[in-house]
Symmetry: C2
Subunit: 300 residues, 2 copies
Amino acid sequence: MSIVAVGTVAIDSIETPTASAHHVLGGSATYFSYAASFFTKVHLVAVVGDDFPMQHIDLLRQRGIDLSGLEVRRGGRTFYWRGRYHADMNNRDTLEVHLNVLADFNPTLPGHYRELPYVFLGNSSPQLQMRVLDQMVRPQMVLADTMNLWIETQRDALLELLPRLDGLLLNDSEARLLAEDENLVRAGMKIRDLGPKFVIIKKGEHGSFLFSRDGVFVLPGYPTPDVVDPTGAGDSFAGGILGYLASDTSPPPGRLRRAIAYGTVIASITVEGFSLDRLRQTTREEIERRLEEYRRMITF
Amino acid sequence: MSIVAVGTVAIDSIETPTASAHHVLGGSATYFSYAASFFTKVHLVAVVGDDFPMQHIDLLRQRGIDLSGLEVRRGGRTFYWRGRYHADMNNRDTLEVHLNVLADFNPTLPGHYRELPYVFLGNSSPQLQMRVLDQMVRPQMVLADTMNLWIETQRDALLELLPRLDGLLLNDSEARLLAEDENLVRAGMKIRDLGPKFVIIKKGEHGSFLFSRDGVFVLPGYPTPDVVDPTGAGDSFAGGILGYLASDTSPPPGRLRRAIAYGTVIASITVEGFSLDRLRQTTREEIERRLEEYRRMITF
């Protein structure tokens, strides 16, 4: 089944303690779509300026990603982010951010997107996420990401959105903020009570929690010794999850658990290179091999 | 098989964001021994002052722990630690520490301890750990804990100790410090190259890594919603690991993995109360139930 993925397509400049990459392809919709494309057809919704390099368009197209929802704004510049990771690679500082064409992004979905069954709402204001959702006819599964900015400034709109979601993705500090509880297990349970059918709390290299009607599920990160650049880990995690869910029609709960394991593995591949460098080299076969290796690593 | 456990027996005062406990039983040898006592016989080595409350002696004795190696120093005062946990319960500040009788602790093992097969060397200077080890006749398995202080001030002595160990336990920041590598997976591999047969990196609520000749094994923490006091988590984790290993004679590697799972579960019970409060209420049956629940939580 097909996925509509709404988010950002960006140009990133990244510094890590050992290396850097300048003006490379980034953005939540980019990472999500590329990761999900290993499992199913993805229809992207985003905006770029006319400075956006054609080679990036080609790269996404080669993965079979439908770009008819990618608006190229004439005379506009693409969303740009520059950041620097700390020594531990878990925290980062934003050094520069230019919203550019993203500032007034208000997507209108192409007609053939509206009846598609799976929807990913990348991190953006809950109002924008709601407007996208309103354009979908009868989505079977909606997964949304959010961030501290919206929890702090648009809590009411976010609370209105939550019951319309199947799954909410957020990181550990965001979960504490939204639930107003320092204990992540309690926080996850509380957030689920706010409406989404399931909640996934991302803990970066430490893995993730899933809270669903079947209880708590917990997975460590895949332990890679080769962390080059953590950018995009969360969005490719989401892409692996929803991509797998869209491709597997077996009954829950095993399906959702397997999806999170796939997301974990794809995220671990993403961080082994800058931008999409490492994902571009991978194959469904490598993903399956790493999944089995991962399963062995956590079995006692 | 029996375990010799060398470490501290302490009086702790603990403040958390929501509660506090004053002058309660603590110490590495205490938590280790109590946790291991669910699996096997433990012979404790430690020192206290004659201010040490008799009720604590009774408590340990009731678990069948051999206290003939517990020196009660006349006119001395017991090691005292006072600390306060931050809101996230992962970090803490030491507010007060009085080494008291611990300052010149130089244990002489009772004769019947010396031929026992399993040894736990709780966190102390590598010189002291070495002197204990020198008193053992032919230990089959030695597990040691260490800390940043010894890595920074007695690195050479620690490096001399490592090849004599089967297992080294240390936390994430200590592993980074010892290996001089920010990536924990690489750090674990490097530390194993320094001599111990296996290395366990503790990540608090995020679980642990095992590095052995069978590769990397990774387990998340057991997700408990009831974290009351994290004190003793690491030492009861160690007690669960070595206790289980001493009670199971099946071949590796499954044995070491199961041991770490038991350690994880016991640590999660420890943190649900102050001091030994929660461990005192638990049973081997509860431990087994939680282990199975934990296994389900990480299976995909």
